[in-house]
């Protein structure tokens, strides 16, 4: 099964013309245009100009089956800055039959002639299932432990703006990699762009055979962080403790928390990143999270809006033609 990835070659192929479901298998020549366009939106946003006519008359629905204030708000602002009509729908996940709700919702939204559908769902593959049933462009805003492509794009944009490149950089992704869609999308994107990716965490939080995705695995921060150009911390969900994957918060922070001493092992000036929301004192120390020069956590949020504008822009152009 050395060719385990082959099944996905071209998975993004035709679907990607209309949807953004994941970054696995996406070629650099398709990733770069997103980043370049996002770059221009950063400048536009900073100049406080808007481009209210680009998506005028288009309907964007934020369909969130899982709570997320920041991602939903980011998509909402991105859509509004481009002039789309944005509607937020939070679907209760406690309804009796989630799956039926999913496809029923899909056909309802289809009948309403939605143009762009931003989907967040607790189940891996749910946006792909929706994409097969609707005419709208589907954008995966995080599905289970599968992918979160816009997060990876905004992370890449943040890094690229600091180093001017992604090629040849070393990025460490630390913490609960096993349950992280952010980690998976970042691994796909960064390895495609020629970065070296390390994942660091206790073996219970490292997914099986993750080396096959082209990363190096470390189980201690001291070795793993050495000479890296950027450190991405992942959020540790409290339920991991109850699931027995990690014995306690204090033990986790002792061995896998990012503090100043550990950060000092990285290359001087290395970027500190976190997709948020942070658990201060669990995976990251406040002094590091708020570091004046090295922490780019707020900048990630800013890049998020620009990247999502770029994604909406490009996908709606595809839908137009």
């Amino acid at each position: 099964m050395a060719e385990g990835g082959r099944f996905f070659a071209g998975q993004e192929g035709s679907a990607s013309q209309r949807h953004l479901l994941g970054l696995q298998g996406m070629h650099p020549t398709r990733i770069e245009p997103f980043l370049d366009l996002a770059e221009s939106y950063v400048l536009l946003n900073r100049s406080r100009k808007t481009q209210r006519d680009l998506l005028r008359g288009r309907t964007l629905i934020n369909l969130f089956f899982e709570d997320s204030t920041r991602t939903r708000t980011s998509f909402e602002i991105a859509g509004k800055r481009l002039g789309a009509d944005v509607i937020n729908m939070s679907v209760s996940t406690s309804s009796v039959n989630k799956g039926e709700t999913l496809l029923d919702t899909a056909s309802t939204l289809n009948a309403m002639r939605t143009d762009l559908l931003v989907v967040r769902h607790a189940q891996s593959g749910a946006p792909a299932l929706l994409a097969r049933k609707v005419d709208a462009s589907v954008i995966n805003a995080g599905d289970g432990t599968h992918e979160h492509p816009t997060q990876a794009l905004l992370d890449a944009l943040t890094i690229r703006r600091h180093y001017g490149r992604l090629q040849g950089l070393t990025v460490a992704i630390c913490g609960d990699v096993a349950h992280s869609r952010v980690a998976r999308s970042n691994i796909h994107l960064l390895t495609a762009m020629g970065s070296r990716v390390r994942v660091i965490g206790p073996p219970t939080l490292i997914p099986s055979e993750v080396e096959a995705l082209g990363v190096e695995v470390f189980h201690d921060m001291e070795t793993g962080l050495r000479d890296v150009d950027a450190v991405m911390m992942l959020r540790l969900q409290r339920e991991r403790m109850s699931g027995g994957l990690v014995p306690s918060e204090r033990e986790y922070f002792r061995f896998f928390g990012l503090d100043s001493a550990r950060l000092a092992l990285a290359r001087p000036g290395a970027l500190v990143m976190h997709p948020g929301p942070m658990n201060r004192g669990v995976e990251i120390d406040s002094a590091v999270a708020d570091h004046a020069t090295q922490s780019v956590i707020q900048e990630q949020v800013e890049m998020g809006v620009a990247v999502r504008m770029a994604v909406l822009d490009r996908l709606s152009r595809r839908a137009n033609s």
Binding site: M1, G4, G5, F7, F8, Q11, Q24, K98, G99, E100, L102, L103, H121, Q123, S124, G125, A126, A128, L129, D143, G144, T145, H146, E147, R181, R184, P207, S208, E209, V210, A212, L213
Partner: protein
């Protein structure tokens, strides 16, 4: 039942290649059926058929015993919207199956003698297939206390199993093997450690990692197999392991057999014809239990079929309706239908040289019948004329939505198969073709 066939005219199935794994018979010939039973296998080709006999021209195709499928689920009782015994029987006839052993974890579970009798009678009503209900090992298949194995056996339970659920408690499994032994009954296990499997929907590894699906380590299978082999040795009980799918478990079974343990096992077509990549892009029709494995395991299953470690091939038929499957992968129900494709997919291993034709049919007829102690799965004078006529080369394509049977969730949807059933007889009556 043969009583109802006393007035049927004799039937001569002429111009066939007779195949009987029990005796190694493989030669051109003709087979005479009378009163629902096999009357003669050696009728000379120039001998006139008995007076009043009907003749069926087999066109040179293979005539073998009707298939004995030792692992299937039907929706009855409790989930008739998925499949009924009648609809399953129709699919079975299309697949050349004349004996169908069904799992007891229905609603209610088959843990009461009356339910065993009911299911047997429902099978007889179809006139197409013998339904052999397995009895539950534990009450309600809940894995807590033993069911009334003796009474179930007396009512005709073919063997004991909790179906798709493994008996997790080691002491309880010991008791089951031990107690069933007293009634000469086999205990069939779903070999998957339940605590390792909990919440999982794909085999742990690169693919599950890429798809972000909760994984089940392949070791969940050999871990339970190893335990149960030890218990079989401890109790002297007879153990059968259902739908075995991993190289490691098969190696344990191979060694146990060499040590003389009373153990048998079966596998199902998905495990020797598909690997885990079939779930790529979240294809829920390929979500099975146990989950599909990496290619190395598939090859090990093929090798174990070839060397005899695996004793039988069961369809592992698991009907699901559209709403069970049109869900995000981890939420979708596991299982695939298999009655119509059992022979065709097995023939793929004949065509690629893994099995001889005789060995393949042995795995589908004589050997499962022997495990269950049945007077079936052989061509012998005086046995019910349960027969399957098939063309090993005839091509067809599996098409979900267009197959007999209520449920259409085939993991082989779209697959081209060489080997097609032309006709099926149950106790001398043609039920398909």
């Amino acid at each position: 039942m043969p009583g109802t066939r006393l007035l049927d005219p004799p039937l001569l199935i002429d111009n066939v290649r007779l195949l009987d794994p029990a005796t190694g018979l493989d030669r051109p010939g003709r087979l005479l059926v009378a009163r629902g039973m096999i009357e003669d296998l050696d009728l000379p080709s120039d001998a006139a058929p008995p007076e009043g006999a009907e003749t069926f021209d087999g066109g040179g195709a293979v005539l073998c015993p009707g298939l004995v499928d030792m692992r299937a689920s039907v929706g009855e009782p409790g989930h008739e919207y998925r499949e009924t015994i009648a609809s399953a029987a129709e699919a079975a006839s299309f697949g050349g199956i004349t004996t169908l052993a069904v799992l007891p974890n229905t609603t209610p579970a088959i843990d009461d003698p009356a339910l065993v009798r009911l299911l047997r009678a429902r099978g007889e009503e179809t006139g197409r297939v013998t339904i052999l209900p397995y009895g539950a090992i534990t009450k309600g298949c809940r894995g807590e206390e033993l069911a009334e194995l003796g009474l179930l056996r007396e009512a005709g339970a073919a063997a004991f199993t909790d179906g798709t659920r493994a008996v997790a408690d080691t002491r309880l499994m010991r008791l089951a093997l031990s107690y069933a032994r007293g009634f000469g009954a086999t205990v069939i296990q779903h070999p998957e450690d339940p605590s390792l499997a909990r919440g999982g929907s794909a085999t742990e590894g690169e693919l599950a990692t890429r798809l972000g699906l909760p994984g089940i380590p392949a070791a969940a299978e050999p871990i339970l197999v190893a335990r149960d082999l030890m218990l079989a040795k401890l109790t002297g009980g007879t153990l059968h392991l259902g739908h075995v799918s991993t190289a490691a478990a098969l190696e344990l079974i191979r060694r146990a057999k060499a040590d003389g343990l009373s153990v048998t096992c079966d596998t199902a077509p998905p495990y020797f014809d598909l690997n885990e990549t079939a779930i790529g892009d979240f294809r829920t029709f390929s979500k099975l239990s146990p989950p599909l494995r990496p290619e190395a395991d598939r090859l090990a299953v093929c090798a174990a079929l070839a060397d005899g470690t695996i004793d039988a091939i069961g369809s592992d038929h698991m009907p699901r309706d559209a709403d069970d499957k049109r869900l995000p992968f981890a939420q979708a129900a596991a299982g695939g239908v298999g009655l119509t494709t059992l022979l065709g997919v097995t023939m793929a291993r004949v065509h690629d040289g893994t099995l001889t034709l005789l060995a393949a049919i042995d795995l589908l007829t004589t050997r499962p019948a022997r495990i269950l102690g049945l007077q079936a799965g052989r061509l012998a004078r005086g046995l019910a004329a349960d027969l399957c006529l098939f063309d090993p080369e005839r091509s067809w394509r599996v098409q979900s939505g267009a197959m007999p049977g209520r449920a259409q969730n085939s993991p082989f949807d779209g697959r081209a198969l060489d080997g097609r059933v032309l006709a099926t007889w149950k106790a001398g009556r043609r039920v398909f073709g």
